[in-house]
Symmetry: C2
Subunit: 216 residues, 2 copies
DNA sequence: ATGCAATCTGACCAGCTGGTCAGGGTCACG
DNA sequence: CGTGACCCTGACCAGCTGGTCAGATTGCAT
């Protein structure tokens, strides 16, 4: 047993990095999966450890054996989230064809809304509350990346390969249009009816929208 | 004192409709204003009566003198919200000029994001949680209105006055693009920096986007 | 097999939260 | 100026919530 009675889970240089046991890997995965489900549906404050424990099929004290607190579970989810979320933007290639790159980014982002709606809602929840647990990364990592990609887009525009649109707002529009289908899914489904797949129509609509917007 | 010890506040036909006193009007307004502030920032579950009471400058028991429960306060806010929110769509005139009507709707919606970000976030919070307190209205009122307006748009398209876009997704795109600036304000401001007014750039960008999208 | 670390649990706790209540102060109207 | 309805509060309560702990149980290396 180490100094706090919990298994090693810290990254700081001083702590010896014990490898996770089979059970640790399994249960930490179960907990994070359950936490994603619960936090994304109810927000941080609206979720309880009991709900997460039930969803994970573990007891509450056992949750707190693997994570020191509710905050820590949420934090662990947050750590990867921004990175995962921005990966498609990072993948936008300055050497590629401008329209294809932007359309590709939009399509990947829409795909993420379809495949990872819980992550999208977890992110949206955090933003709605003013991103209290993310503010640092927002001002730094996010702005740096977006500014860099905005410059790439500006260069494309200056080269006459794209219509002259504000690059920042272009990126915002991709975020808004794609994430809407995950975050406001209830509303979208209520309007379209239970038969229709929102993402099919969305894909066609967004293709057309960005084709028309970006043509020089 | 009436049967439940609280001032009359029900609309049902049976109850005699006592006019609100000066103090009742004042304090109910204070409470709802405070509740909007708190609920929109923290969600329903994340907000406490103590926070609302403090924000309103009243005591917690006094809050519960004017409203029977936390749910009731939230409900009162919700009642008007969907209507307020959809009013600009309702105002879209089938006899007007198609492009001008849709652009006008978009601009009014963007204006609402600027002027009423708290209402926008309250709405977004509700949607994110799956609209547990709104599901009925969603399936009924909302779908009816949107379907009607979608038909109007479809007629415009058939008359060759608009580009052939899916009317439902066109409406979704207006919602997504305008509400994003209220709901994800932290993110937008983090990227643009503290100097820039997001709504100025947004107005220009969205004008251009919808001009290009809608031209037949 | 044995012994130690890892894993797990029931019982418990303190603080918070929505809500109640008895009673005291205040307002408006005759 | 009196009086009844209206307005407000401190004190309180029960249930929930995040978190602790002593000890029981299990897994695993030798």
């Amino acid at each position: 047993m180490n100094d706090n009675g919990n298994p090693a889970r810290f990254d700081d240089a001083s702590a010896a990095e014990k490898p996770l046991t089979r059970i640790q890997k399994l249960n930490r995965r179960k907990i994070l999966e359950a936490a994603l489900e619960v936090f994304s549906a109810n927000g941080f404050r609206g979720s309880t450890l009991d709900q997460i424990a039930a969803e994970a099929g573990l007891s509450k004290p056992n949750l707190l054996y693997y994570f020191p607190s509710k905050e820590a579970i949420h934090g662990e989810l947050m750590i990867g989230l921004l990175d995962t979320w921005l990966a498609p933007l990072r993948a936008m290639n300055p050497q590629g064809d401008p329209r294809a790159e932007i359309m590709g980014y939009m399509r990947r982002k829409l795909e993420m809304s379809r495949e990872m709606p819980r992550e999208s809602r977890l992110f949206a929840n955090e933003m709605l509350q003013g991103a209290p647990r993310m503010a640092d990364d927002l001002g730094h990592d996010l702005k740096t990346l977006v500014d860099a990609k905005a410059q790439v887009i500006r260069d494309w525009i200056d080269a006459g390969q794209l219509a002259p649109v504000d690059p920042h707002h272009l990126i915002f529009s991709i975020w808004a249009l794609t994430q809407h289908y995950a975050d406001f899914e209830v509303q979208v489904r209520a309007v379209l009816g239970p038969e229709t797949d929102p993402f099919e129509g969305a894909g066609q609509f967004l293709d057309m929208l960005f084709e028309r917007l970006l043509a020089p």
